[in-house]
Symmetry: D2
Subunit: 364 residues, 4 copies
Amino acid sequence: MRLVAGMVGGGPGAMIGSAHRHAMWLDNQYVLAAGVFGRDPEASANFAESLGVERVYGDYREMVEQEAGRLDVVAVVTPNDTHFEIAKAFLEAGIAVVCEKPLTNDSDTAAELVAVATANHTILAVPHIYSAYPMVRHAARMVRNGDLGRIRFVAAEHASGWASADVEQWRMDPARGGVATAVADVGTHAFHLLRYLTGLEATRVSAELSTLVPNRPVFDNATMRLTLSNGAPATVWATMAATGQEHGLRIRVFGDDASLEWHHEDPQHLTVRDPDGGATILAHGMNTLSDDSARLTRVGLGHPEGFLEAFANFYLDLADLLRGQPARELSIPTGVDGLIGVRFVEATLASQVNDAGWVDFPAE
Amino acid sequence: MRLVAGMVGGGPGAMIGSAHRHAMWLDNQYVLAAGVFGRDPEASANFAESLGVERVYGDYREMVEQEAGRLDVVAVVTPNDTHFEIAKAFLEAGIAVVCEKPLTNDSDTAAELVAVATANHTILAVPHIYSAYPMVRHAARMVRNGDLGRIRFVAAEHASGWASADVEQWRMDPARGGVATAVADVGTHAFHLLRYLTGLEATRVSAELSTLVPNRPVFDNATMRLTLSNGAPATVWATMAATGQEHGLRIRVFGDDASLEWHHEDPQHLTVRDPDGGATILAHGMNTLSDDSARLTRVGLGHPEGFLEAFANFYLDLADLLRGQPARELSIPTGVDGLIGVRFVEATLASQVNDAGWVDFPAE
Amino acid sequence: MRLVAGMVGGGPGAMIGSAHRHAMWLDNQYVLAAGVFGRDPEASANFAESLGVERVYGDYREMVEQEAGRLDVVAVVTPNDTHFEIAKAFLEAGIAVVCEKPLTNDSDTAAELVAVATANHTILAVPHIYSAYPMVRHAARMVRNGDLGRIRFVAAEHASGWASADVEQWRMDPARGGVATAVADVGTHAFHLLRYLTGLEATRVSAELSTLVPNRPVFDNATMRLTLSNGAPATVWATMAATGQEHGLRIRVFGDDASLEWHHEDPQHLTVRDPDGGATILAHGMNTLSDDSARLTRVGLGHPEGFLEAFANFYLDLADLLRGQPARELSIPTGVDGLIGVRFVEATLASQVNDAGWVDFPAE
Amino acid sequence: MRLVAGMVGGGPGAMIGSAHRHAMWLDNQYVLAAGVFGRDPEASANFAESLGVERVYGDYREMVEQEAGRLDVVAVVTPNDTHFEIAKAFLEAGIAVVCEKPLTNDSDTAAELVAVATANHTILAVPHIYSAYPMVRHAARMVRNGDLGRIRFVAAEHASGWASADVEQWRMDPARGGVATAVADVGTHAFHLLRYLTGLEATRVSAELSTLVPNRPVFDNATMRLTLSNGAPATVWATMAATGQEHGLRIRVFGDDASLEWHHEDPQHLTVRDPDGGATILAHGMNTLSDDSARLTRVGLGHPEGFLEAFANFYLDLADLLRGQPARELSIPTGVDGLIGVRFVEATLASQVNDAGWVDFPAE
């Protein structure tokens, strides 16, 4: 039986809502049955019909009321400043929530969402999708297996060019998305990937936030230093103003015995480097990969699976959780990860105020 | 309204059937409603249930009988030697058919399928999926726009390593898949891609077929020379025994004014080379690409779409055709393309018998 | 007539001395006529004979005394802590000096060397060789031509793996090479390359120095933030403990209108990225490159020239200067560049003491 | 003591003569002492002076007469149709000859040169330089070590774009360079590389020669099939009209147990592929490479050595031979290799006449 899903946000032209829908559909494990696709009821209804979504509502409150007991999960893909109230309402109704990142615009509300999910015995998941790529899963397994030895340094970057010129969007409005846009929009992805791959947390942060595009009212660039929980230093660079770069998510993890590199422009491969300077390139679909990676292979060696397949992997893992299976060691990010991401945004702002000085990262 | 689809073949473990299903599902334009998933009725029924397919049959004849008037299209994903009778039965019932390549094992039956589809005013489509990648579409548009000038040479190869050691499979059984396995299984893809990109046909062929894996009863390697319809020479190399290569589909088209290169290991990009030695790398999702490419973009720049999205592009274009829209200039391969592919296989065998001498390619 | 050169240091097994010699020889513009190749006179004499060096000395003082008026230039390729006295002696004798970086271990002595060179009307050059690669020269020309628009961000790294495990060498001895080894040994190269490409200076620095290889008595890793003279932020990462990386020098310069990337693993090419996400790859030898690059082409398109050719480019430009030609706009680094490098090392140490806080970079 | 070298040809603007000179100079093992640098005596003398060449002659006959007993070796870098008489004269005078490829324009004269060298107990070497790259040497060692198992297929190509438009040059004059220019100019390099890497010979050839640039009086494109001495098939593609390609020399060798790939655009690396689809990238300078490669390392890991270093490796190996050392197993190409190259050219022409049919390759 397919799971029954809803969506709030993601109207016509909203890329991220579209990505969630393809991800739900790809494996035929979800039926998208209900939704609110924007503030204009007629446009929302027309769009729902075009999608084959049977039940459409005027706002999320009505939807919660009508869908309690009918929906297995709802995807919240609205601007950041509305996540809290919407996600909270569904969680309180016992409906699992997939909430886009950053979870909220401040850690108090993020923590409250985590608490509400727990209190209602339901799931709050946060789609840091990159951690669902098969080769990222394999990399995380390699680190946990000790193949790299002690982790000594990590360099992560999410340096996209999508907003290297002026763009009009809620993400550039401090009131909607916060002022640390680079960190909130892309930096949290890089930071989560770092945590996911290494299994390490950050204990302190130093951040220099800056604005690369003239007159932009938010910070569109951030260079961050971290100290990790094993004492190793790390850097994270986040921007959406890296002129000409495509997506720009790339991570290198250096251990005493080997290092690895993954970048999103070629997600099918993982490069492992040995101390002698030789590199091994592992490919998705090789029959020698760990099960964490192999179980997420739809086609096979040489048949690239991309962003939507990774997104669908997230929804596959979520489906297992919704059906009551225990979480795997390498599974999907949840509300706690979302909360840590919000704290990361806040820590970078605190450091920025302090002339890029060190700020302790709040302990769990 | 979603289109109603069926499938014959593609039981548990069959990769290609799985690919067709994901491709149908990804955009939620098809419901897979009926099928025969193998020769064992109980296994077929269980598998259908796991897929959410409501109507399952003991064999294709029963399915044709019951589904006439109910199905919009059926995917035939059985071994080559069964394509003819199955596809013919559905076409005669007025049901559109997506038939895996090679269409059949001889050109007479392939031509008959084309004729049957025409006579029954229905569609016969052949999933040479690589032509549905956005950057392949853009490349084909560039060639048609004259950006490369006169085409002077083409080098295509599909040199995979999937069978570089012994494998047991119907493709290695001459009685099921024919003896020219390298040509039939992968060569036809490279040949179609060459035709699709250039808009040119072959007028003659020379082929050396060989067996790279000892004791294999079929030819697993083929090097082909073509003369194209504009007089230009071309080469096609096809094998599944290229030890260590992933998928190995790669094409370079050289014109008087520029050349282009595309390879399936990185399908998101297209390299265009200028006579001065500079290269431009175009990326899927750039807002400057032709509409042939842009209309097939689900996510956007920097978000890789892979094999299943290309497969889904095929099904999207097919959906337009099934709904009565006229075919675009750059659309999907049909029965005629499948027939040309079968003639290609036959021509290579004729050349092989003739010590790799030239064989005229049959005129349309 | 060939120029007459000498060398101090660079005995058997010393890689950098060997590189200087090949660079002198490649274009037949220098004869290496005199030298001190280590502290053991007999070994030095034997080595000199094997090199075809006619005049060999017991120490540099003797060499200065005997060679004044005979040598055009001497290469000083000894450990850092001896640069000052040796270079000073030759400069005072009116002999031009090529002194390895870092010029000295403190900025006072470095400034003194610059002054001594000026007072003696001779040349002090510092071999930051990477700035002599043709594609780096072309990149620098593009920036000066305004092809990138205003520079908004720079990310430079020299993250090598050459010392990712224990090594015994004077560079790991704080008394010989200083404690900030990562900055002095490789960071100064990345910093110079940044300055050379952009034409910008740093106005302040923040550095976190760390030790990645356990028990190593020097800092082998450094992450640096810079503020550039146009106000743009920049980062420099320097290490020799990046497990598995080859050489790891890579720079990306982001402008308002375009960005460019060059890395030393593939020095023949320069990638230029446009805001729409397309990339152009320029190759050494293309006939459309600037003269700054073209004049340094020995073979031609498709014939890689590597590290030694870049080194030889340095010596070619030096030969022009030694022969009295005026310096080109894009020429070789001199003592002032070496001094700025030493100040960079000092600034990172000052920042490190201050918990990675900002340190103003001394004005010229 | 440096070896004493001469040169015939290679006047101002002649790229290949320049490459020979840099290669002689790089390691300071040769002094270029005598030469004829073109047909104009004054220009030749001026050029010699600019090079520091002391003895310059009006023609090669005068040079032979005067230099017998003085020269260790002469480089013949004139157009193809003059190789025979020049090389023969020096060989008969007991002077070793480095003669550019193709050795001559017909196999009879090529064989005669080989015989003359033997009769005069001197060396005739042919600069197929690509076989002197360290990673090519390592690859050849791997094949000989059996690391790839039985060789099952080879795909070699030298598809350059240097003449993708009209060029005026003796190579495009059938009377000077022969009509099979693509084979003679670049195809012989690819063919030699194939032989060098695999240790196999060709037993038969089929070739289609064609002209890609309109109105060009020579064949500028050639696609060749070979049968190798172990029975394996192979292909060689040679052209100088591959619009936009840089240099385009690339080879892939497929064995039963692994495959390897090397291409000249990145000569520092060698890719080894395993049957499971994983790839290992070996880098020049790694301390785990064979001595055949390691002994040719001037700088070290991460410091690219390019075409001139490979050329200098050729001259280093030649120096060893000139000094009477026995040839290593993996050494430089000699006259016999040059002769086989000429036979290759002839075989392709014979095949072309025979409609690209098979032509037996002459046994040694």
